[in-house]
Every structure is written in C-alpha cells, then in structure tokens.
Symmetry: D3
Subunit: 285 residues, 6 copies
C-alpha cells in the first residue's frame, strides 16, 4: 500500500510528545508468549525495539522461553516431572534451561536485533552475578527453581551507556555458584526496579485486564495499584493474571513509574503503546 506523505507526516508528528516523554528513559520489556513463537510477530517486535532504541529510549529486553525448553527436553528424552502441578527442575533440566535460554534464545534475539540495525549484547543473570538467587522455599521441593535475592544492575547500565540493547536471560546464580531457574516476569519486575525504569512492559497473550474475560471490549485501560486488592476480591483479577499483575504492582512499589500488560499477539503493540495515545493494554500506575 502506498501511504500518502501527509498521513506519514501526521503519524510521525503525533508521536512527538511520546518521544519527548521517554527520551533517555529506561523501559524494561518482558518478551514471551506468542509474540516470541510466531516468526512474523517476532520480526515486528525486533523492529520496534530497534526503532525505540534509536529514537533515544533505553530498552532492556528480558526474555523467557518455555516452549523451546520443552522442545529440547523432549529431544533429550527427559520426562517432565510435576509436583502439585508445578514443574520440578532437577540438575539435568536446569542445564537444558540454561543452554536454551542463554545459548540459543538469547543469542538469536541479539542476532535479530543486530540484523535490524540495532546494537545488542546478550547477558544472563550469571554474568557479573547479575541475578543473585537462592533455592525457592515452599511446601514442595521444586529442585533448582530459585527466587531472587539481589540484582546487580552494573552490567546493564554499562551496556546501555555504550548504546547497546541488553538482552537478558533470567538465570539466577547462588552463593554456591549453582544456577537457578527464575520466573521471567518476576525477574523483569526486579530488574526494572533496580534500574529505576520508567516503564515495565509485560508482553503476554491476553488483551489486558478484562472486566468480562470473554469480552475484549471490556478492557480496563488503567488501574491504580491501590485498586488491585478489590479487583482480586471481585474475581476480575484471577487465575494466570494474578502473578503477572503482582509483578506489575511490585515493580511500581519499588519505584518504576508504570507497569503495562500488553497483547503480544497484536503486531507492533509495543510501538503503539509507547508512541501513541492509544493504549493497547492495561496500565498499572
């Protein structure tokens, strides 16, 4: 389609106030779900991040990788083990997780950002002991599933200062140099807090918070964190939404300005979210 010059100019000038708002600000993007498995959507996201980086927004990309880990486990013939519905991470599984996240997905994302003209550097939580962790305690022993004890943001700041987009795999490292499997949403929230980020953006496979979960037209565009307990009580925030929204709230409590859940299935959702007045998801503030 041929776009008219006038329209082209309108779009660009509409973006002006948003470019000003995020100038030299840090935005942490948690990337996962369908946006990561569809090649077409992945290409859109990479292009968007390079664009945002070039116009002066400091992007930090935090990624997960569930499906590819499952594939690899299957290839080595590893039987998954679940305890009360939660996956148990033994040493062999942990090794696969580390290889797939830090060796495959991370470096492939770096390559795709570079291909689109960005400058990117892949890091994992073991580098410079960036994500310090310990064994997650709880009713069940989940093996090497970890919880974060401290974030060392130095290597991310170094990368941002040199103009790189840091791409982060959420593997934690214990005092005993054991590596731990860390939930990527949680890690993104803690990293955003440690960086005093302007925004935390969680890409997911839902539209955002819906008053009626079967009707996308009931999307809630913004929620003050103080309303979250009531929304949980009313059952509007429920199921898989709960941990995601807890991350959003946690990040804001620790100093991040805004946390946003956006729909990664919509092409260019992150670009639209940051550079237009059209919110495409639910913003917590």
């Amino acid at each position: 389609m041929k776009i008219e010059n006038q329209l082209r100019a309108d779009v660009l000038t509409d973006a002006l106030p948003y470019i000003q708002k995020y100038h030299q600000k840090i935005v942490v993007v948690k990337y996962g779900g369908n946006a990561m498995t569809s090649d077409e959507l992945k290409d859109y996201v990479m292009k968007d991040l390079v664009l945002l980086s070039l116009i002066g927004i400091k992007i930090v990309l935090v990624h997960g990788g569930g499906p590819e880990i499952n594939d690899m486990l299957a290839r080595v013939g590893k039987q998954p083990k679940f305890i009360n519905g939660l996956r148990y991470t033994d040493q062999e599984t942990m090794e696969i997780v580390q290889m797939v996240l830090a060796g495959k997905i991370n470096k492939n994302l770096v390559a795709q950002l570079e291909k689109n003209g960005g400058k990117a550097l892949g890091l994992c939580g073991m580098d410079a002991s960036m994500i310090q962790a310990q064994k997650l305690t709880g009713p069940d022993d989940l093996g090497f599933v970890g919880e974060i004890t401290q974030i060392n943001p130095e290597p991310i700041f170094t990368a941002l200062d040199q103009g790189y987009i840091p791409v982060v795999s959420t593997i934690g490292i214990g005092d005993d140099q054991q590596s731990y499997n860390i939930n990527a949403d949680t890690a993104a929230a803690k990293i955003a807090a440690a960086l005093c980020a302007e925004n935390l953006i969680l890409m997911s496979d839902i539209k955002g918070l819906l008053l009626d979960k079967d009707d996308e037209s009931t999307l809630v565009q913004s929620v003050h964190v103080s309303e979250v307990p009531r929304l949980k009580q009313q059952g509007i925030i429920s199921g898989g939404m709960i941990p995601k929204i807890d991350c959003c709230v946690e990040a804001i409590r620790r100093g991040v300005k805004r946390s946003i859940i956006i729909d990664g299935r919509t092409p260019h959702s992150i670009l639209i979210e940051l550079l237009s007045k059209e919110g495409v998801g639910t913003m917590f503030y």
Copy 2:
C-alpha cells in the same frame, strides 16, 4: 481522522532506516520563504525540527527574514534604495536588519521550538565572532552587504553538545566590529561546510529543479554536482535558481554529503525528505 494502529506502526517502522542513517548526524536547515510567513506552515516546520532533534539528528536552523525586514523599514519610513536592481544597505538599514533578524525572528523561532518541546538557543553571527565578514566588493557599492571570510563553528558545536537546536541569524561581523548583511543561503552553505554536516537543506518556494519549469511532473530528483555546468548551459538551471544551486554545489565541494532544495510550501516536507524514501525536492550529491 482516526488513524489505524496498523498504519501508524507501518509508518513508524518505515522510518527506521532513515533514523539510523541520520543518527547523531548534523543537518543544517536554511529556513525561509513561504514556510516562514505562513503561520500554519511555520508550525509544521517547528514540530518537524523538534521531532528530528529528539530522535537524535543534530539540527542547526539558519534563517533569513526578507519580508519582516521590509515591514520594519516601512514602519520607520525608510525609503529603499536600489543600485542596478540590488538593495543598498546603509547604516540605518543595517541596524534594522540586525534588530529584526537577531531580536525578533530569531528569538520567536526559539520560543516556538521551546513551545513544541525542543531545547533551542538563538545565536547570530556576531556571537563569538561566529560569522566573520568583510564588505562585499563588486562593481557597485552596496553599503554594508558583506561576504563571509571565516566561520567559527565553536558556539554551534557547544550548543549541539548540550542538546540545543542552535537557531542562527546570518549577520556577519567585520574586523572593525561593523555588522554586515549576509545572504542566508550562502551563510547556511558555509556553516554546513564548517560543521562537516551530513545534509544541507534549503527550504524554498519551488518544487526543486524542473526540466520544464512549468511542469512540476518534470522534477529532477537527484543531480550529481558534475552535471550542474551542463544544466546551466542548457538553461534548465537559470534565474533565481542559480545562486541557490551554487550554494548547494559549494557546500558539497567543502565536504557536506548532500544538499537538497525542498519545497517549503508542502506541509512537513522536511520530515518526509529525511524520514522516508520519498524525496520531495532535488538532491545534489
């Protein structure tokens, strides 16, 4: 008009390679003609410049101001004097020129850039002896019309380093501290050369170079400087085009990468020129 998100995203991502190309590069824009006298067009230009500045292009704005000088001369009852068709600049006229350019137009442009969210600083060639000049020699004595002897780019670099858009009035200063009236196209070309700019953009009231000057569809999109003499001989470059194109050629000879004549009457012409593959004027390289 409501613009679709998809379209919005397409326009923004289309701009990506151009944003990369001009990242941290210096672009000198000579601003004049209708784009300066129409309030609507002026507003578009200011918005465009702030946008370009925010996405990492180092914009230097050089302006003229013929019509407002004439208005002011009329208000003080000054009779224009012409010698062989060229305006004679006596001491009183020079004083009015200086006041209108450096006091009125320059500062109003600064205010409009600031209003649109830019950071701007107004300078004239007398500041830090930036545009050093001497009396123009020629068959006729034109009074205080000057020609540039040297450019001191230091204050412009200082302003750019601090993130300002420098706005420059083209008043020259002689060894005797006499101020001189300097042609703004020529000054823009020399400033672009002294800054080793990537682009020199001359905004004018024509489409660009036309093979048939009555038919806008005959626009020449790009010209190698070596072809200019032939185009002059053939009469395709003629009349008022000659000095403008000479400025373009001169800038390229002194190290500027591209000089472009664009039509300031088209809204957002400068944005389209820099951020899309659609050229809107004639580029010399």
Copy 3:
C-alpha cells in the same frame, strides 16, 4: 602619560588579594544608565569586563535599554501610554522592546566585548526558556509587563564553562510563549541568585547610598541587610533607591554573598570596586 614601572608593579601587586578572592567566582553585572549611553564610559566598561574575565572571574552581563527603546518607539511613531505613571506595554511595544534589547543592544555589546579580546555570547530570556515569566498582576493592567516565575540557569553555565561572557537581555517568556518586558535590576538579582553568584553589581547613575542625598561625602560604604528596614523608615533609602536596594537585599537573601550599587559614571568603577580596597559604591552583605 608615562607610568613608571615601579608604580605599574605596585598597582598590579595591590590587586593580587582581590584576584585571589574572586578566582573562578561568578559576578553578575547589571549594566545600565549613563555608563551605557556614553560611548567613552561604555568602552571602559567593556575593557574592564574583558580584563576581569581573563584573570579568572566569571562575568555575566545583564543589560537594560530604556533610552534606545524610547528612540525606536519614536521612530515608528508609537505614542507612549502611561497608567498611573507606569508605562503600558502593548503587543507592538513589546515587539519593539524585544528587537531593541535582544537584536540591537545585546549583539552590539557582544561585538564590543569581542573587539576588546573577550569571548562573548548573547542570550535573551527566551533562549532555552531561561527567564520564565507571567503577566505582572497588580491594581493596573500594564499589558505585557511580566514578573519572573523561574530562572533556568543552564545556558549561562554552559556559556561560562566554555569561557564565554554571557550577555543577557531580560525578556521573559510565558507558558503561552508570549514574551514579557522584565525589569533588568530584578532579573539580574534573580539570575545572580540562580547562579549562586559571589557578587551582584548594579551600575547606576548615583554614587551609592548617601546619608544626605545632596552631599556625596556622606556615602555609606557598607550596609548589613538587617539595617535596610530602619534606613527606609528614616527616609535615607527613598524614591528610586527603594527598588534597587530591594533587589540587592533579595539577592542576598537567596544566597548571593554581596550586592553592590556602584556609580557607572565613574570611569572603571567596576574594576576599582573588584580589584582594590577602595570601594566605589555601597555594598550590601
């Protein structure tokens, strides 16, 4: 007159403790009155400022321009309008004020400092929204007479860091980008405060504070700000002295170390004031 080498050396070495005292300190000079209208006195002031700048004092020159504004208003046939004795500034007058201050006087001062070997840069309050202002509120509507709401000292610090003498025209800028006429004494005091200046020097056409206003031998050399209310009560501070001394007091309250009213009619009064033990006016501390 031939000055003996010995005497020459005595004068220079006498200046030593004062050069030490002001080393790398900021001194804001409000320049106006006779020292500005007499060409000979102006030349002395420019030489003094360049000298002070070279020996390591960071000079900021703030200027007014009443008489030249009146001349220009007369030339365009503008009838002055007064309300209860105060000048009303309509839009047309404001435009003339801006042109004369920022276009003529400011740039001519820059040129004269440069001629004497200084490095100077002309700025007005509109540059980088340096002097933010709003309409002055009061019993009478005085048009575009403004009062300062905030000072952005960044462009002055940038200029000082690069070794320039910033020359400042006191035009304010409103949120609506309307320019406002600002009293130069007041602006100098607020700028001195925003810069944490060592000294504020107001050049005027009086000897300083006199106990008997008809006897210059009754000059008061220094006044503690706490004594000002009593001196007003006694009528020793009266008439046109009141606003000037209020500026001095205000500057000190906001952190300036000393405010001094000196007689601009005495040649080199500023040099003598800063570099010898002879005070030439009245110092508030």
Copy 4:
C-alpha cells in the same frame, strides 16, 4: 605444607619484573583440552586468571568445547557426519554447538571466575556482531563451518574498561544472521590481533614444540617466526601442531608481541608462564 615466610617473599618478589612487564597489557588466553575437562585443572586455571586480572593484567578468555558438544549431540541422538575426515556441521548441529558453547560452557566459566572473586562477563561472537563470518569455502561443503571476515573488538574493550574478564564463545555471525562454527584457536588469534594484545596463550595438551616428539626434554623454549617454515620442512612441526603454530604466527604477523603454546595439563602453567622466568611451553615471537 607450611611455606616459610622467607620463601613466600622470595616468590613474590621474583614475580615483580613480570608484573611490571604485563601491567595493563592485554593477554588473550585460548582455553581448551584437558585443562578444561579436569575439574581440578579447571579450578587452577580460574584462580590463575582471577589473580592475573587483579594484579593489573587485562585477561580475555576464549574457549572451545569439543567434548561437551559431542556429549550433547549424543544425548539428542544426532549421528555425526564426516566428509574426508572433517566434521560436517548441519543446521541442527550448529544449534547444539551454539547452545553448548554460549549457554553452558561460557556461563559456567563466568560463574567459576565470579566464585573465585573475579568479575566476569560472558559474550559470544554474535553479541554486537563481534565475530563476523562467512561460510568456509573449500573443496568440500562442511555446512555451517565458518571463517572470520572481521572482528568488532568494541564489546571486549568495554568489558575490560569496566574491569570485567570477558569470556568469549567463538560463534560467528554472517551477514544473513546465520551463526557459524568457528575454530577457537583461529578466533583467539584474530581477537588477539584486533585487540593489539601483548600475548596470545594457547593452552593445549602437549608440552610445546619438541625436537623429538617422544622426548619432552627436547622442548624448544622459543622460536622466531621466521624459523617456522624450516621447522615444518624438517617435519619437526607436523600433524596437529601445524594449525596451532599457524595461529601463533598469524597473531604475531598482525601485531601481537608473543604467542605461546603451553601445556594445560601442568597445574598453574599459565601463572608460571606469565610470572616467572621459567617458560613452561614454546614461545613464538
């Protein structure tokens, strides 16, 4: 064993001239072979590198990983394919190579350096397009085996400047963002050249160059690069030694001061090599 203080002091002061010699110099260590597979030897190497880093030597660690790649290929049931004795790297194999090198070995080395008190950062040739490569051309198609076209040393310099030990996996990246399998010795030599390193150290499973390959007492301690062709002709350099020594020679030709082949099976061989007059291998200069 209790070491006498006197002896302790003797060893430390003996090291003094070597510490001076390598102060702030870059040393690239290619790490592989037995020193990498034995846990005890690995621990020695990690301690040595941290020590060298702390006393002011800028260490860059380049690693290979043959055995672990083979293990992983076996675990996914991948049949190795050889062409004229050379391993063919198909897309699936390449993916495993990338995961094992960049995800497992690299990050585990980082963790062990951190555990010993070092600061380490893991990178692979895909990060910031550090190792640019193309398909290796030759008589046989070996799949995604690559040869280096260019090294971008920027991320290594950034890491060194921040006090990190960069740990580098030798995966190359093509223009088409295809990742390539790169020989680690070759990559270490090219990286050393791009960094203008002082030393390139290749850890291997041999004593060094032996005149009689069955008699370790015939170790040649130093060889001038000009002697290499003769030594090849005489058959003293032969077999698997040839590519290693070619890397040493290549590095020296491109500006590295010394290339050394050391025996990684000897504990602390790298420490002894750098900090004592006892060479433990063969030095090319």
Copy 5:
C-alpha cells in the same frame, strides 16, 4: 635456591584473597628504624612497595630520619641540646632537619623506588601546605618542634591518581611559614586518617606487642582498641611502645580500618603482612 614451579604457584595463589582485599585501597607505611639504615633491608622494602603498588595497592610512604640528621648535625659541629631528655630544635637544627629529610632521604627513597620500576614523587609537608603545624606547647620550650593542626591531602591524592607512590617527609609549616619538626609516627597516623586509609603500617625495631617483653613467642597478634587502656594499666604497653600505640589508636578513631606495628628487621615483613595470612606483628583494629 631453585624454587619448584608448583611451590611458586602455591605462594602466588595463596596471595589472591589478600590482593583482592587491598585492591585500590590506600595503605600508609611509616618507614624508619633499622629497616631504613640497613642497605639490604632498605632494598627489600623498596622492592616490596613497588610490588604492592603494581598489584593495585595505593602506597603512601612516610619516612623519618633520626640517624642521618644526627650525622649531619655532627658534621656541621652542632652540639645537641636536651631539655628534660627531649631534643631542643633551634633554627639552625631545623634547617638541617629540613635539608636531610626533604633533600636527602626523601629524594634518595624516590630514586630507589624508581630504580626498582616504581613511579615515585617526593613531597614534604611544606608542599601545598600539606602538613599545617604550630609550635608544640608544653611545660618546656622545645623550639621548632611542632604539632599538626591540619592535613591537606590534595597533593597526595593527585600523586596517587597519577599512579605515583608519594614519599612524604614530615616537616610541618606554620601560618608564619616557619617550618616545624614533626614526629613521623604522628604524622603518618594523621595522614592515614586524612586519606581514609585502609591500613596504617608502622615499621619499627620490635616484633610487636609482647606479653612478656623478653619472650618473642608471647607476641599479641591483634588487639581491639578498647583493650588498650587495660594493657597500659597492666604495664604490657609501656615505655617507647606508648606513643606508637597511641598513634595506632588515634588513626583507627579517625577512620583508618587497621593499624599494624611490624618488625622492620624481618626481611619483606610488609609483603608478608599484607599478602599472607601470617601476620608478622601486632594489629590494632
């Protein structure tokens, strides 16, 4: 003696945790006594200091010089004068003290550090008014014996930042520019405090604090400053130990982490003290 490589490596790796502990930390060494008069011991100390400096410890060397001052006084036929057992420093003696300390010993130490490959710069308390002093007050007039009023650490920081080992003669300077004889232990303690040093090391001719002063096996390895008063009461700290230990305590009170009295008669005592777990003296903390 030929040291085995394995042993060599053991010693070096044993030093690793200590090198980490003192990395970029400031250690002030007071150098005097036998370690200064024996040429062999002096050579050991110089080598140790250069080694410590190269591995990243910021060494400041403060020296005394009693014996050489006595020699010079004897050579000029000056009779020593004592008051209640304390040396009286008249103007002539003071001059000799200054010459011997700042001209002879200081510069010879600098030369020996340079000879061993260090970078050294000699300073005395008069440079940049580094050690400001006044006449010591007390029951007896001791002439130009001074007590420190203030330390200006700037020249030491400047030297350390440039990579020099500053060598400091403890001559004080009064407001009247009179030079004063200052006790070197006291000066070292105050300098260590002003620099917020990690360690203060006083080299002396005793093993350290002994429970039984005739039995070196009763050496106390570490003492908390709170225990000092009791140890004095018990007579364990007595005689010449008192002022030295007071200096140690004073330094710790003002922010130094550890003060250590070591035996300068033991070769390489300072190296052993800093780089091994074997303390060689008494540490106060």
Copy 6:
C-alpha cells in the same frame, strides 16, 4: 603613597593585551642571582609569580642555588676543588648540593609562594626520573657534574593541571640512580622545550645584552636567533653571556616561542616584562 583610582585603572587596563597573550600559556622562569639572595627582591619575585599564576599564566619555577651551596660546604669544612677553573663535584659535594637545592631552597620557595596565596609544589629532577642525566664527558673529569639525556615532563604537567606552581631543583638522575649536578640555565631551557613553553625567562644580574657593556643605555631589546653568531664574532656576546644566550637559542630551536634575559635586580622585573609593553631585558625570538 596613595594611588589615584584612575591611575590604578589605567595600569590594569594597560595589562589587558598581555594577559590575553599569555592566557593558559606556560612560562618557565629560571630564578637565580641577586634576585634570590636579597630578601626584598625575593619577596617581589614570589608576589609576581603568584599574581601571574592567578591571572591564568602557567608558571614553572626552576631555581639554582650557588651561594647557599657554598655556605653549606664551608659549614661542613669541605675544601672546594677546581680543575682548570671548573668546580669538581665529588660524592660528598653532590650530597650537599642535593640537600641544599631540594631540601632547603626548593621547599623555602614553596613556602614563600604559599604564604603569598599561591599553590606550590616542590619537585627535583629525581622525582619520577624527571631530569634524566649522565656524567658530563669532556677533557677533564668533573665528578658528578651531569648533562641531561631526557626530560620527563609528566609530573610538571600534572602539577600545572592541578593549579600548582611547580618549583624545580635541577638535580639529574642517572640510569644507575646516581644523582648529578646540572646547570640550572641549561635545565630550564630543556624543561621549557619539553613543555613547549611560550616563554623562557632567565633572571640574571645583568641588564641584558649591551652593545657597550659599560653603558646600560645600549641595551638591545630583541635579537633574532639568526643574529647570534654575528654578535658573538663581534665580541658583543662574550664571557659569561655566552652560555646564557646559548640556552636562550637552544630553547627557541626546540620550540619555545621567546627566551628573555631579564635583570633580577630590578624590582618586579618579571611582572613588567610580561604585563607591559616595556621590555626590561633582551628578548630572543
């Protein structure tokens, strides 16, 4: 005497062009002769140097010390030994030279500069191996008289950058760490060259170069270096003038702009020389 304000201002403004000329330039002053032995003259010189330093000239003070060395030699009962009229410097003499220059004169000069409000740092050629020297070769063995082999200007630049006046004793240091007696005029010339100084000023006890050595009115104010050979041939440059003028010429050959011989017996001669159009000696250019 009371100096009139007008006169005071005239002197200060007369100095303006000279202050501009030497702004941030390095001036090396060789200080010796009567200006150093008379307390009154010494005080003038110190005040002058502090003043020049404060107004932005980078002063380096190089001093000699013949008379005080002779005094000290006499005090220790050392018999001078001459060979063909040149003083022989044995080890004992060298030690006295070092003590007197680096310990007494140097530090006393530092104290006097500090007393007058300057910031000063005393250095000798042994510091940081600043003046590298070897035994002077010639027909006679003069003991430890040295000739300069290299100047390491780093410590002087460091001191100037921190705002100090470096005060330099001209003791050289050999490869063997032997200290050498170096002629101060020669050292000043070489230091000036190594610093690319603007001026080298040699203070002496003569008016400058006189055409008739008995008539001070025949002073030559400036000499081009190319004229020196002819002036030597004519006997106008003769005797003790020859080595001084050779130093001047040597400095200019190596890049110093001007070398000046001034009369240290005239109060404030250096101030007059640098800050007025009255030259007070002979300038070589």
